[in-house]
Symmetry: C2
Subunit: 170 residues, 2 copies
Amino acid sequence: MQRELADRLTLCTFKKGALIHDAEKVCTRSYFIHQGLVRVYFLKEGKEISEYFCAEQEWVNSPRSFMQQRPDIYYLDAIEETQVAGLDVQDLLFLFGNFPEMERYARLSMGTAYGHFMERITSMRFTTAREKYLHFCETYSDIHHRIPLGMISSYLGITQETLSRIRAQK
Amino acid sequence: MQRELADRLTLCTFKKGALIHDAEKVCTRSYFIHQGLVRVYFLKEGKEISEYFCAEQEWVNSPRSFMQQRPDIYYLDAIEETQVAGLDVQDLLFLFGNFPEMERYARLSMGTAYGHFMERITSMRFTTAREKYLHFCETYSDIHHRIPLGMISSYLGITQETLSRIRAQK
DNA sequence: CAACCCTTTTGATCTGGATCAAAAAATCAC
DNA sequence: GTGATTTTTTGATCCAGATCAAAAGGGTTG
């Protein structure tokens, strides 16, 4: 199965700032990140709002667009020069159909993501801006220093100014 | 497979206010609601914070506790008298092992839940208390009037007083 | 290396929603 | 039904963080 999967992956590199997926289109592939940093964001009143970030050894795509094969609101771009291995949705469906362990892997991964979402929802209610930022630093402990301030503030739902002041004190 | 599933379900009824699952314990069964309304909540500084609500024709459990068979922070209780069909985790695992379509169903359901979570996270950032409430009314359009105000306010992360004032105007 | 552009910081003011307090209304138990 | 408890509403005050404005850094491009 490893072999069947490896044969279907396509390697490619995106330059810093390059658009990996456009919200106008259907997301037909999922990317495994070998090196680099990807941001998932959407537009609200003309401004870019970060939804989350993915780095080395993680899969990234536009979730609802990829799962349901219809356009959704999310754009993906490369925060740094990024090398990925892309897997087409057709190939993934082939693997699901022929290798039950692949479907199990997907179900379990989804369960993990589900848990992370619950935690994030909890951390966004009843917390001060500072607590939100500290939680972000824990969640992204290994990569938080590689993400620009403006992208973090929109991820947290606070303004750049507030985040800058939080960082200043202590 | 329908038959195999039906044979493993246990019917039972919880009175209004009854505890369905205790956070101290491991959640060993998942409940399909035939009639009634269930709240998933946790305690923060002695107060009950609603995480979400489930009603007729939905499955409910303590997600991370059920998936990983270890205790988690969530309690479940019946907001109204509630009739459910319970499925034990052992039985579910048996069904996953013997019926691939069951595993597929679980993966797809999880994907749907994933989408709902993304939407909720979006609706919690950059929105006023009023917008949060309106979003809640859409999300729970068929059951929002069956849920007490205090439980809604903690779900939204606003105070009871603010929610009461929002409802008052218009 | 200078001119430009983008990101981050600093300052001043304003406001939505929290907090504290208490009255009014609804629900429950006996 | 009637008193007790819980839930919801109303009122007054306060503050964390938003908004508006502008200065100060940092990068990158010819």
